[in-house]
Amino acid sequence: MIRSLPRSSAYDRAFVVFILLYFVFLFAPLLVTCVLAFNNSDFPSLPWRGFTLDWFFSDGPKRVGIFEDADNLRAIWVSFKTALWVSASCVVVGVCAAFLFEQENFKGKNFLYFLMLAPLVIPGVILGISILLGATTAGIYFEDHWNLDIELFRPSFWLVVVGQFSFITTFVTLVVSAKLRKFDHSLEEAALNLGATRLEVIWHITLRYLRSSIIGAGAVAFLMSFENFNTTLFLVGSQSTLPINLYLQVRDGSTPVINAISLLLIVGTSVLALTNLYFDRKEAS
C-alpha cells in the first residue's frame, strides 16, 4: 500500500507504469514542439527531413526565422515591456498591501482583505471585459464633462498593463504576506529602541528580510504577465503581446516559426522557474 508496507510486485509495477505514462502525457506536447522546430520542412509535422536552423535564423524570402521576423520580435518586445511595468507596479503595491494586512489594524480590514482575494475567483475573461467597460465608461465621462480624450481609456498598451496589474498584485500580496507573517518582531522593536524611525526600520530591516520573497514574487509576476492571454485578449490595442500574436497565427494555420518561438519560451521560462526554485530551496535550508 505505502512505502513501509509489503506490496506485491504487480502493484508496484502497475504504479510505475502509470507514473511513466503520466509524465509522457505531460511532456509529449512540449517535446514534439521543440523537436519540430529543427525539422527541415515547411510544416510543423513529420516526416523528418533533416536538421535545420532556418526557423531561427533564415532571413527569407521563402523561410523567415524568428530572429528575422519583425512582427513576432515586436510582439516579444511589447510583452517584455508590459511584463516589466506590471511586475514593478505589482511589487510596489503588493508590498504595501502586505504591510497593510499584516502590520496594521483598522476598521473594515476584513472586508478589504476579502476584496483583495476577489481577483483569485474572478475568471480572467470577466476581469478583462469589466476593465474594458469601466475604462470606456470613464473615457466617455471625461470626454463629455471636460472634453478630454485620454489614451489610457481605450484598448492600448497601458490598459493591458492596468488589467494585468489588477489581478497579479493579489499573488504578490499573498507571497509577501506569507513571508512577513514569519518575521520576528523583536528585531523591529530592538531597532526602534535604539532610536531608528519606523521608516528606517522598514527600509533597513523589514524590507531586507523580505528581499528574497519580493524578488521571487516579482519573477512570478513577470511570467504571469508575459504569458497572460484571457485578460489581455479584451484590452489589446494595436500593439499585440506575444500570446495574442501567437494565438492569431496558430488559429489561422501554423509554420515552424511558432515552434521556434515556443522552444525559446519553454527554455526561457524553465530557466527562470528553476532559478526561482533553486533560490527557494537555498532559502529554506
Partner: protein
C-alpha cells in the same frame, strides 16, 4: 490610536487598486448588463433565456467543467499518492520539479503542442500510418473528448499541488494500523486517505473548476465547431457583434455561476476563502 503617516502610505495604493480596478469595473459590468440603448431593461437577460443557443452553451459549459474537474481529480489522486507515499524520498523532489515545469510554460504553447500531435497531419497520425494501424489519417482534434483532455491537461497542476501537500501531512502509521487490522485497499482509501485529503480536494476542485469555466484558448483551439464555450459567446458579443450590453449580461451570468459554485464548495467543506488561497 494615532495613525502613523505610514499607514496612509500603505492604504492609499491598495484602496486605489481595489476600488478603481476591481469594484468599479464590476459595478459597471452589472449596470451595463441591465441597459438596452439608453434605458433600463431586463432585455439582455431575457435574450439569454429565450435563445436556446445561449443557455444551452451556458449549461454545457458548466456541465463539461464539472466533468473536467472530476476527471482531473481521478488522474491527480494516484499521482499525488505515488509522489508522497511510494516514491523514494530522494526522487521525490526531482519528481515535483518535473511535475511543475510544464505548467510554467504558456498555455498557448501547450495547446499548440497538442495540436501538432493530434491533427490530421499530426505526429500521432504519422506513426499510426507508418505502423499500418490505420489506412488513412484520423482527425483527432476538434471534438469534445479532445477538448476535455486538453482542459484536464492545462489545469491538472492546480489539483496535484494541493493534493500533494495534504497527503504529505497524512501520518503513515494510520495506514499501517489499518493494514495490520486487516483493512482492504479500498477500505483504506475510503475511510482514511480520502477523508484526510478533503481540504486539498476542495481547494483543488474549486481552482480547477474556475479555471476551466473561464478558459478561452483550449476550447477555442481544440474544440470543434459544435463545442462552443460560454467565454467564446462573450467574446463574440464584444468583438464580433459589438453588443457590449449583451456581453456584459453574459459576463455577469458567468461570474455569478463561478462565484456560486465556489461558495457552495466552501460551504460544503467548511473552509474559508483565505485558507484556500494560501
Amino acid at each position: 490610536m494615532k495613525r502613523s503617516g505610514l499607514f496612509w502610505i500603505f492604504l492609499a495604493p491598495v484602496l486605489i487598486w481595489l476600488f478603481l480596478l476591481i469594484v468599479l469595473p464590476h459595478l459597471d459590468l452589472l449596470i451595463l448588463s441591465f441597459r438596452v440603448g439608453k434605458s433600463w431593461s431586463l432585455g439582455n437577460y431575457a435574450t439569454f433565456f429565450t435563445e436556446p443557443i445561449y443557455w444551452l452553451t451556458f449549461v454545457r459549459t458548466a456541465l463539461y467543467s464539472v466533468i473536467t474537474t472530476l476527471l482531473t481529480l481521478v488522474v491527480s489522486l494516484p499521482v499525488a499518492f505515488y509522489i508522497t507515499k511510494l516514491s523514494r524520498p530522494g526522487v521525490r523532489g526531482f519528481l515535483m520539479v518535473l511535475l511543475l515545469l510544464p505548467f510554467w510554460v504558456s498555455e498557448l504553447v501547450r495547446v499548440y503542442g497538442w495540436m501538432i500531435l493530434l491533427r490530421e497531419s499530426g505526429v500521432i497520425n504519422y506513426f499510426l500510418l507508418q505502423l499500418g494501424l490505420v489506412e488513412r489519417p484520423i482527425e483527432m482534434l476538434y471534438n469534445d473528448a479532445t477538448m476535455i483532455m486538453g482542459l484536464v491537461y492545462t489545469s491538472m497542476l492546480f489539483m496535484v499541488v494541493p493534493l500533494v501537500s495534504v497527503m504529505e501531512s497524512l501520518d503513515d502509521s494510520l495506514v499501517e494500523a489499518a493494514y495490520d487490522l486487516g483493512a482492504s485497499k479500498i477500505c483504506i482509501w475510503r475511510t482514511i486517505i480520502i477523508p484526510h485529503c478533503k481540504p486539498g480536494i476542495t481547494s483543488g476542485s474549486i481552482v480547477v473548476f474556475m479555471l476551466v469555466l473561464g478558459n478561452y484558448l483550449t476550447p477555442n483551439l481544440m474544440g470543434g465547431k459544435n463545442s462552443l464555450w460560454f467565454t467564446e459567446q462573450i467574446y463574440n458579443q464584444f468583438i464580433a457583434s459589438f453588443n457590449w450590453n449583451q456581453g456584459a449580461a453574459f459576463g455577469f451570468l458567468l461570474l455569478a455561476l463561478s462565484s456560486g459554485i465556489i461558495w457552495v464548495g466552501l460551504r460544503l467543506s467548511g473552509q474559508r476563502l483565505g485558507e484556500v488561497a494560501s
